[in-house]
Structures are given as C-alpha cells and as structure tokens.
Amino acid sequence: MSFTPEEVLETKKMIQDQGLDVRTITMGINLLDCVDPSLDLMLENIKQKILSLASDLSEVATSIEEDYGIPIINRRLTITPISLLIGALKSIKELSLDDIQKFNDPLYHKYKVGNLRIAPDAIDSCIAIANILDEAAHEVNVDFLGGFSALVHKGFTRADLTLIQSLPDVLSSTETVCSSINVAATRAGMNMNAVKMMGDIIHQIAMNTREKLSIGCAKLVVFANAVEDNPFMAGGFHGIGESECCINVGISGPGVIRNIVKHQRNSDFETLAESIKKTAFKITRMGQLVAQEASKRLSVPFGIVDLSLAPTTRPFDSVAGILEDMGLETTGGPGTTAALALLTDAIKKGGLMASSYVGGLSGAFIPVSEDQFMTEAARKNILTIEKLEAMTSVCSTGLDMICIPGSTPPTTIAGIIADEAAIGMINQKTTGIRIIPVIGKDVGEEVEFGGLLGKSIVMPVKRSSCEMFINRQGRIPAPVHSQRN
C-alpha cells in the first residue's frame, strides 16, 4: 500500500475538519502591451487581454477542486500597476512636467499638492480604466483584481499622482478593484510626500464610502518594499519583473496548525517548532500541487506559492488562536511577539522545503477584523495598535484591517503609515498598512463588514499630533543598510 491509512485520514481530516484549503489561485497578467495613447483603444486592449487569458481560470480551479478534493476558495487576478500604463494619455500629460518636478524635488520646500493642476479628464481616465477592470473581473468570475497601483518610493510621475488622486472615486465606485501604493523601499528611502498624501487619500476614501462603514479603505494597501508576486488581496499586483502571465497560489491552514499546537500542550519549544514546521511542509505541498496542476491545465507558467497563514472568520481558522494555544492568555499581551516569531519562522522553514518556488509575502497575516480571536483581544483592549506594530516586525505582513476612529486626523493616519513603513525599510522587510478610519464611529464601537472581511471594533489611536513632522516635504533618505553593494 503506497500510503498508510493514517496518512490518508490525516489529509482528509485536515481538509474536512480543520479548514485546510487553497485560499487563492491568482493569475498574474502583464498589461504593458495594452498601452495606447488613445484611452478607448487601451480600454479595449485591457479587456481583451484579460478575457483571453483568464476566462478558463475559474472553471479550471473548479475541476482541480473536484479531482483532488481540495477546496479552492478564491479565484483572483493581479495586473501590471496601472500607473505604468497611463503616462502617455493626453489628459495625464496636461499636468505640467515642471510642476511635478518641483513637487518631487526634496529641496523645493514650499510646494503643495494644491498647486498641482490635475485635469478632471485625467481622473476620469483612471475611473474608466477601473471600470473596465471591474467589468473584466466580473466576466471571468474572479472576486478581486489587484493592481490599480503605483510605485512611488522615489517620487511621483504624473501618472502616479493622477492614479492616487483618483482612488477616492475609484474605490467607492467599483467592486473588485484593489489598489496598492509603495511609498518606501530599503534602497530608496521613504517618500514622505506620498506618505502624507496617502493619509489624506485614505481619509477621503473613508468619507466617500461612509455609508458602508468606510469599506473602500479595505481595498487599499500602502507598502514598504512591496513584492511583485503577492497572490493575496488587497496588496497583490503583477510586478514589472514578472512575465506575460503566471499562476500564483496562496495556501492556508491556520486551522491545521491550531490542531497540531493544541495537541502539544506540554511540549518544549523544539518539539513545538518541529511539529509546526512539518505540518507547514504538508500544507505547502498541497498548494504546490494545485499550482502545478493549474499551470498545466491552463498552459500558463507556474509562478510561486505564497505560504502565508491567512485566517478567516471561522473560529478554528485563527492565527491569534494558534498563539493562544501556544500558551498566551490573550493575543496582544506579553509573549505575543515571541510566539508569532516562532510560528512565522517554523512556517517558512517547512514551507520552503515543500515548494520549488516560494514567494509573495509568505508570513502570517494578522488582520484584526478577519480573525475572531484578534477581534476579541482588541475588544478586551489587550491587543492594541502599538502591539500590532511590534508583531509586524516578525510576521512578514503588516497592519491589516484595523479600524480606527473616523475622526483621526489625516496626518495621524500618515504617521501610522510612516511608522509601519519605517519598520519595513530599516529591517529590509515588506510591511503593509490597510487601515480603515470608520467615519462616524469612535473607540470601542463595533463595526460589522460582513462576509470575508468579518467584523471588528474601533481601536484607539494615541492622541499625540505628528502634524509638523508629516508636513515636512521630501524623502527620508535610504538607510545605511541599503549600501550592501
């Protein structure tokens, strides 16, 4: 018998009872060849390219689910950052080159965004592109499309600026489109003009979607050191170093890891880490299999497996639950950062052995609203934003799905972004910020997004202004570790 009954049953239990699944199959698509100075032609090109490559994605995913008995929860798309496609449009070029040069120049202190005249046509072009992306995503049956993005760590192009300024409209009027903005890189430093702008933009998006609990903000991630092959949303995009088209897979099994940890109540750290590592191997192997099979059936090259632990709202599917099973009374209390460090490291070690190509974020997601135990810890005021910030220094992801008071000043939002980006920039890691100022709600109030996004509680932000700091213009220089050549 090639497999023992124990092995077969273990696999079946992982899938049936512990929530082992492939969290997402994501097709990455290059759209650079869709560029055209005519907006109408570009829209047509974009739609056709997506439809021609991705129409079978959903069906193939379903056929793999049926053959292998593995649930594949989401089908998604990532695309080339849209800011790279729109630079030649006439409306974008209406913004004076001289003006944006001044805005970018760190020596030119007095320049304000208000002086930059972005043509309404330019914003409309961005919205039109977002709408066509939304349409295409619906037609191929994916639930999210990531890549309405810009990389501005060194400064803005006119296209970057226009895209960012269009976000409040785009994210309130489309369903599937997700955006990411990279504001810092270890080798480039931190674009503080961008950080300040994103504080304002996030506030505006929150205002525009206030009838829906400011949910527009859940479709935007601000990054430091963003990766080019992240299959998860909202931060995924198809980076410029990527190929024409590829399949990336995000696997997930917090429930499986929780089950292992629960049975290790009395074991020492070595045994605990080993058992997590071995289980991560099995989980990742499943993701690798699905990725390779999807690649074969779609005739699209396999990209990477992202071996992140991603929680869902189901109680057994909780990352914080794993930490508490490790021996913490409540996530967020002392011991949390150490426990998370052990967990993330063990996941990576086991996962790396299991897959030929590991990429994306490959960490542990700690979204407050999507993880029941996190939400509860926030409710008890044991888990705070400050502790979450510390946790992000060891878990390879970022501040995720955090609700803050709607009254939080945009410069304070910018300060939170700057802090998280600094952790990424200095430690040569990817960090992200997905923060939701819930307009009309204050500390302690419940926020129920529903569905995948779960529910949460508005968390307190320390009342201390960073307005003067944020209002300085320019760029924080690249840290000394960037000089590794």
Binding site: M1, S2, F3, T4, P5, E7, V8, L9, E10, T11, K12, S63, E66, D67, Y68, G69, I70, K282, R285, M286, Q288, L289, E293, M353
Partner: protein
Amino acid sequence: MKAIVSVIGLDKPGIVATVSTILADHNVNITDISQSYAQEFFTMIMVVDFERSNSTIKQVNEDLKKAGEKIGVFMSIQHEDIFRAMHRI
C-alpha cells in the same frame, strides 16, 4: 491514473459491497485495500486505477457520495497525487 477511495463510518453490513459495485460499474480497478475497525468505526482506504475506465474522478465521487448518504457512511475519492505530495519528500 491512480486515486484513493476513503470510506469512514459506523460499521454495518454491505459497505464493501456498495463501494466495489460502484467502482466496477465505472470499470475502475481496485489495486489495494486496507481496512481497520476502531471502536465501532469502520475505515477503509482503497487504491484504485482508472486505466480501463472512461469515467472521471468527479463522476465516481458523485456516485460514492450519493451511495454514502443512503447507507449513512462517508465515502469519497481523490486523485492520489495529493497524498503523495503531502506525505512523501
């Protein structure tokens, strides 16, 4: 193509007969069987071969699931690769 049939449930007469009949109907060949009883639970794992079959895993799985519901036992079939991937270096 090889696949793994798993059957789990409270032991009762007719389980093996039910599964074998479905597999025979689809021309799927059984190449290995392993079964065990723990308390009142019956667990059976079969390695099967689709070489002479014109059916798909999906079709066999549907029949197994239906039959399983009727006799009150959990039955399913999966491609063997998932087990190979997870349990072998």
